[in-house]
Amino acid sequence: MSQKPPAADVVKEPSMLKQKEMIEANYERLSGAKAQGRKVASTFVPGNLNELIMCFDLANNLPEINAIQNGMRKKSGMLIMEAEKRGHSEDVCTYVKADLGMMAKGNLGPNGKPLPEPDVLLLSYTGCFTFMKWFELVREQYKCETLMLHVPYEGEGHATKSMRDYVVKQLKEVVIPGLEKVSGVKFDIDRLRQYLRESAKAEDDFVWVLESAKRRPSPIDAYFGGVYYIGPIFTAFRGTPDATEYYRLLRQEIAARIAQGQGPITPEGDFGQEKYRLVVEGPPNWTSFRDFWKMFHDEGAVVVASTYTKVGGLYDLGFRHDPDHPLESLADYCLGCYTNRNLPSRIDLIEKYVRDYEADGLLINSIKSCNSFSAGQLLVLREIERRTGKPAAFIETDLVDPRYFSAANVKNRLESYLQMIEQKRRGASPRAAA
């Protein structure tokens, strides 16, 4: 067991406080939008066009984030049941049902105030079919303007010129005119360039943060901690000076941890000794997020790289938003999000992570809701084991449906997996596990 100070001793770092303020301010902006005459866009995390949305002074509502917030506050179970009562199948994505359930129950945001009705649904269709149905379902209720941005899938493992041209053309001829119409604000490409310049700065620091996990000990947990680090850049803040500032602070804090040879921070204090380095594929479970994380840090298992932190943008292979090619870079961003990449590319990426981050193996958290991630993961597991010789393991949970999180099961699986790693180490080098 690792040594940790009691939870009461945990100090919130400046970056955490900064992010908290940003999120609260965004919810306030949303709940006050109608009173202030501000128009509201709803959109998805993967392939989100935050910089563009800001060009039209729109408040940005992200239903996936609302579902996560409700999950972490233990409200999602009831909302999902509400949606199922209204005829939605038990088989489909629980983000969708948590959102529809929330709408049915007064659409209250995490600040307890009602979220505004959207003026426009910006349906960026990147990496998942469910998004399309989700916004058709929301549109059915609000009857508002809906702008589809179809982002083709990288079926052959790369984006082609035709794909990029298609996305850019939709941006020019559908999305931008649509947003102009809804907002009454004329599009200014220089304003977009400015936001993209800001995005690229934050992206540099964000990648530095992610790559800091290559060190031993890793100063971050790239999955459980990572989901906080992606917050600003994946949501309503990419392109804002606030986000740039957040990543600057975060980078400073992590540099300080590195200087002191410290591992990640956990909700219960410092991490203690790093015993296992894992790569994780798949989104986390949100309803028991803390317990889930605790199972890892109790065992000294740190996640050094994760694919979930690439779902709203993949930056560590070099992509940056580019103010000199604004629309093209938005297209490339959308095309390159993790789940829009074909399975062989996803496997290549995971393999690279296992090697570059000197991980002991791969753990897959397979999410019942999400076929986009989950279909094919058992092949991912086999391939990674075959290619790297490192053990891989599989756990099954759900995003925000508490009925599909079995703590005992997950803990058992994790413990046997870590034992497997130990055995492997002993096989490879008898002293390694001593």
Binding site: R86, G87, H88, S89, D91, V92, C93, V96, L123, Y125, C128, F129, T130, M132, K133, W134, E136, L137, R139, E140, K143, T146, M148, H150, P152, Y153, G155, E156, T160, S162, M163, D165, Y166, K169, Q170, E173, V174, N342, L343, P344, S345, R346, I347, S366, K368, N371, S372, S374, A375, G376, Q377, L378, L379, E383, E396
Partner: protein
């Protein structure tokens, strides 16, 4: 002219043959022939045909195939068709397939395209994207480009680049086939007692494994035989089956619905054979013609975006009217995202038009038909009672 029983028996034999002997025989008949497999729901078969290859629709393993290997690739909460398709492939039943196309229908089939690349590297596997933007100058341009890439891939596969003339000839062959398919559907809706759905299904299914010309002949023969047949008309309810566009229900499920007192007067099984609602243009640029048909004239289904909220689900209401249907049975594969996410929207549209419906889920290997028969029977009775 043969009678329907003989034709249907021939189709049933093809349906049950999971070694796909006919496809193998077609390939073996001329050295160098290629087979291009495709998953539901839609691929432009004209391109495959024009390249001299056989388009071969793979619709899973049905209820006869025991799935052992396939289950090792999928979690319990994923539908059955990808696992039975993998089963078919790893047990060598698809070893005559030279290329595989995976249409843009859902994340499961999309990801299967990448799995195929890894598991069967000798087979050329391609995901076929279709536009969700329906403007000719945007989605149309993109799709024409996709078709161009597919044409090039097929040319490389067969060594026979399809000329525009070849493509136009293939469009003509498929137009003829689709006209016959539409005629069979129209005839079934008009006189369903003469063309039971369990037969029509098998006749349509034969189109997944036969060359288009052979299938057209079979359709014409079946139509003539069915028209000439003399079968008793029953006092059945007229219903449409919706949601079964990918993983197919077992044949027994179709029979059970009929035995429960329903005439199926339309359905969405194997949409590929009537994807284009009218003829694709037989002149001009053939790829542009196919793209144009996709944008303007293709079937409505859950995997396609409906840009206009006012039109959402209208197709089903219009189909109910056109076919004189009295209700809709939503039959969707378990865990099928597109069908199950779409369903509540369609149900609300039906409810707003006072069209009754029921819903259930199935798997391609569902064995217990009693509950479905009871549910469909009660539905048929209630329609009769209230009509």
């Amino acid at each position: 002219m043969s009678d329907t029983a003989a034709i249907v028996a021939q189709c049933e034999a093809m349906f049950e043959d999971l070694s796909f002997t006919g496809v193998r025989a077609w390939k073996a008949a001329v050295p160098g022939r290629k087979v291009v497999g495709f998953m539901p729901f839609y691929v432009p078969r004209e391109l495959i045909h024009a390249a001299g290859a056989l388009p071969f629709g793979i619709l899973g393993g049905g209820d006869q195939l025991e799935v052992i290997h396939g289950d090792a690739y999928y979690q319990s909460y994923i539908c059955r068709i990808p696992r039975s398709t993998i089963e078919l492939a790893v047990t060598g039943k698809l070893d005559m397939v030279d290329a595989m196309l995976f249409p843009s229908i859902c994340d499961v089939i999309r990801n299967l395209s990448g799995m195929w690349k890894i598991m069967f590297p000798k087979v050329k596997a391609r995901y076929l994207d279709v536009p969700q933007n329906f403007r000719a100058d945007i989605g149309g341009t993109f799709y024409r480009g996709e078709l161009g890439e597919l044409r090039a891939m097929l040319a490389e596969l067969t060594g026979k680049p399809a000329t525009d003339d070849d493509l136009r000839a293939s469009i003509r062959a498929y137009n003829a086939n689709r006209r016959l398919v539409r005629e069979v559907y129209a005839f079934r809706a008009a006189e369903p007692w003469k063309a039971p759905s369990s037969e029509v299904y098998l006749v349509m299914r034969a189109g997944m494994v036969l060359p288009v010309e052979t299938h057209s002949k079979l359709l014409a023969d079946y139509l003539a035989a069915a028209k000439a047949s003399d079968r008793p008309k029953r006092d059945n309810s007229r219903i449409i089956v919706s949601g079964a566009f990918c993983e197919q229900p077992p044949l027994n499920l179709i029979k059970s619905i009929e035995l429960a007192g329903c005439y199926i007067v339309d359905d969405d099984f194997m949409l590929v054979n009537r994807w284009e609602q009218s003829d694709v243009a037989e002149q001009g640029d053939p790829l542009a013609a196919l793209a144009d048909s996709y944008l303007r004239d293709s079937a409505d289904t859950a995997a396609k975006y409906e840009p206009d909220q006012a039109r959402k689900g209208r197709y089903l209401v219009e189909l109910v009217k056109k076919r004189g249907a009295e209700g809709v049975i939503f039959a969707a594969p378990s865990f099928c995202d597109p069908a199950l996410l779409e369903r509540p929207m369609l149900q609300r549209v039906l409810a707003s038009h006072d069209i009754p419906y029921i819903a259930f889920k199935y798997a391609e290997n569902s064995g217990q038909m009693q509950p479905i028969r009871e549910q469909a029977g009660t539905f048929a009775d209630s329609i009769k009672l209230w009509s």
